[in-house]
């Protein structure tokens, strides 16, 4: 096990409280948790790319970061418009 794998395995545990927060609470709390999960999973992708030495997988982290941005804006607009 290299240090990148160790870092990725520790990072995976941060998804446990994020999952709990995504299930519980009102829709506003869950929206913020969704943003945090997007950032954490993007960082996890970067670590896993280095851990497994599969460099093309870095594109997945970049794609996820871009898609999280679009998804976050869409969810925010939806919340403002329809969930009053």
């Amino acid at each position: 096990m290299n240090v990148w794998e160790l870092a990725a395995e520790v990072m995976i545990f941060t998804l446990v409280p994020l999952t709990w927060m995504s299930i519980h609470g009102d829709v506003r709390q869950r929206l913020v948790t969704f943003y945090m999960a997007g950032v954490v999973i993007t960082l996890l992708m970067m670590l896993l790319t280095m851990a497994f030495n599969r460099m093309p997988m870095m594109d997945l982290a970049l794609t996820l970061a871009l898609m999280s941005f679009g998804g976050g804006i869409v969810f925010a607009r939806f919340l403002a418009r329809y969930l009053k």
Binding site: W4, A7, A61, F69
Partner: protein, 118 residues
Amino acid sequence: MKSMAIDILLAVGVLITLLSVLGMWRMRDPYQRMHYISAPAALSAACFTIAIFLQDGLKPEGFKALLTTLVLMGMNTAVTHAAARALRISETKDWNPPPGEEVPLRPEDELVQPEGKQ
């Protein structure tokens, strides 16, 4: 020396993310929770990118990681603002403060006066 720097950068990045998630868990309302997204998006991503550059040198994966970090930093500011605005609109039906709401930005600012008392 280089491997020790990589270890330290990874440890710092992971620790920042862990503390941010735990801090987010402890906060009560979504406005407080939102502040905790910025630390992993900026600091942890920067630590990991520097570690990747140290490990592999000036290779394409390092520049992809740098681009990902820049996207995360830019995304965080825009999405946090959009989310805060959306939460505000979902609570008060309007972005602007209603009359009588106490929202002074500076200590010398006056309170928003109720209608008819201007």
